[in-house]
């Protein structure tokens, strides 16, 4: 009886761990990842840090426009498919990123997610199979439902990771990163 209970709890723990958070929807019905963050920093510093972050990741996110209170950018994130201990790219998700800052407060959101599947080319490299992207909100047919669910979950996971990295970048000062003191060892005195 004890072991049956343990088995039941084990199975339940797998299910709970497998559940992931999902995108919310905005008033256009588009998926959105939205956060408002309180931060005791002036608006100009927040904008500077956000610009620095986007410049650092310029290969995957490009600025489309800036004002004295906001930044708009377009980005791309690659979705991987994991097989055993290795993985390969399975597609990319394009998105629109918006950042707005006020004194001691900022908000950002990612929306307009669109998916482009990858396929293996003749050299065994994964490349886009089409230039026409599919919105993530699209309701898939029955045959594609399982795969689409995995794509949306992977996109959310990558988005959440991007958001975490962005918030970390905005929480640090613009000053240079604190240099690690390297211990030098002298063999002269002992």
């Amino acid at each position: 009886m004890q072991y049956r209970l343990v088995l039941l709890l084990t199975l339940l723990s797998f299910k709970l761990s497998a559940q992931q958070k999902q995108f919310s929807s905005d008033d256009r019905g588009k998926f959105i990842y939205y956060e408002v963050v309180e931060k005791a920093v002036v608006k100009d510093s927040l904008l500077l840090r956000a610009n620095t972050f986007i410049d650092l990741y310029k290969k995957s996110i490009k600025k489309q426009g800036t004002t004295d209170t906001s930044i708009i950018a377009k980005g791309v994130m690659v979705i991987d498919k994991t097989i055993l201990v290795a993985s390969h790219p399975s597609g990319e998700v394009n998105y629109k990123f918006t950042f707005e800052a006020r004194d001691k407060k900022y908000r950002f959101w990612l929306t307009d997610f669109e998916y482009i599947p990858y396929g293996r080319d003749r050299y065994s490299n994964y490349v886009p199979t089409t230039t026409i992207a599919t919105p993530l909100e699209k309701t898939p047919g029955k045959l594609s439902a399982g795969e689409w669910k995995d794509i949306v979950e992977a996109a959310y996971s990558k988005t959440a990771k991007f958001a975490d990295n962005f918030k970390k970048a905005l929480s640090t000062g613009q000053a240079e990163k604190p240099k690690r003191k390297t211990n030098t060892i002298s063999t002269k005195k002992w």
Binding site: V6, H88, S124, N125, T131, S144, S157
Partner: protein, 338 residues
């Protein structure tokens, strides 16, 4: 009680492990498996193009395994296949009809800059529209242009990417389809890629040097245009001339495809293929029409196909074994890519 607590602890650690995000591995692993059934209306294998050769048999294609890793600017790809499509029906077959394996790709690449890279090793050919792997083709059967052209090239090549719309490749290669050169590094090849508008990519290819039978030059145009979300049009045209007027071939194939549902695409391949005259020996001409469906679910693609070929010189057989100008086949294939 002790056993119960131990069990609870194991549940907690399992939950924590699953909650952690699995990091992306730098080693890429992928591949495919495929199987098919084909019925030829002449009740024997009749159409002389590559792969899917068995009549009235549930037969194997191949299992294909690929590894890729990039570290900094350097990367490698190693791809190997087993099974009829990946062994005896591929060129070269290392053990000559005995159970062996086939190298699909084995090369290293170095990105000197974002625009300039060099690649050396054994690679899928840059010539032509269709490839060996069933994952890379819409149709399960292959065209005459594919069967008669190079499958793979060993060599060294340099690629310069002027922009996302234009790139140029030039290289030195062994003779076609051999792991090691039989007549030295004797071929020179090049490829110009242009993308005039979004969704349209065209490759102009040329390869000149040693081929399986002598020396020759092949010029090839491969292009595809995703015109709308549902409609894509592909085209392959090639001309091959062997040295000393020893013949060659020319052909063109058109590949219109239309997505009729979320997971279903219908495609047609219309091909004209001519084997050229050699002196007084007349060449011959094949035409073919292939109707194919791709029905996808996750990594699985189910491919029903009907193919009708014609050649006025009657190279085909009919049901009674006599010469016939027409050949037809029906096939069902399943390809799983992972």
């Amino acid at each position: 009680m002790k056993k119960f607590l131990t069990a609870i602890f194991s549940i907690a650690s399992t939950t924590c492990a699953l909650a952690q995000e699995t990091p992306t591995s730098p080693l890429e692993f992928s591949g495919s498996v495929d199987t098919y059934y084909k019925y030829d209306f002449a009740k024997k294998s009749n159409i002389p193009t590559s792969f899917a050769s068995d009549h009235n048999s549930v037969s194997l294609g191949m299992i294909d395994l690929a590894l890729k890793k990039k570290t900094g600017k350097a990367s490698f790809v190693g791809e190997i296949s087993f099974g009829p499509r990946g062994q005896t029906q591929s060129i070269p077959d290392a053990a000559n009809n005995n159970s062996s394996f086939h190298i699909q790709n084995l090369y290293v690449n170095y990105d000197f800059t974002d625009k300039f890279s060099m690649t050396a090793g054994y690679m899928g050919t840059f010539i032509g529209y269709e490839v060996i792997s069933p994952v890379g083709n819409f149709n399960y059967s292959t065209s005459y242009l594919f069967t008669n052209g190079p499958f793979q090239n060993a060599g060294i090549k340099a690629t310069y990417k002027f922009s996302d719309k234009v790139s140029l490749m030039a290289g030195l290669f062994n003779d076609w389809n051999v792991y090691s050169a039989t007549r030295g590094v004797s071929s020179i090849g090049g490829q110009l890629m242009v993308s005039p508008v979004e969704g349209w990519t065209a490759y102009l290819n040329v390869l000149s040097g040693a081929d399986p039978l002598g020396y020759g030059t092949i010029e090839d145009l491969t292009t595809s245009y995703q015109i709308t979300k549902a409609f894509k049009l592909g085209l392959n045209a090639a001309n091959y001339d062997r040295a000393d007027d020893a013949g060659g071939y020319a052909g063109v194939a058109l590949y219109p495809q239309v997505a009729v549902a979320d997971a279903v695409t219908l495609g047609l391949r219309g091909e004209y293929f001519k084997i050229k005259d050699v002196g007084a020996v007349q060449g011959t001409t094949y035409t073919g029409l292939t109707l194919t469906a791709n029905i996808k679910s996750g990594g699985l693609t189910f491919i029903p196909e009907v193919r009708l070929d014609h050649n006025g010189d009657k190279p085909f057989s009919n049901k009674t074994g006599g010469a016939a100008p027409n050949a037809g086949q029906f096939s069902l294939a399943a390809v799983y890519a992972f």
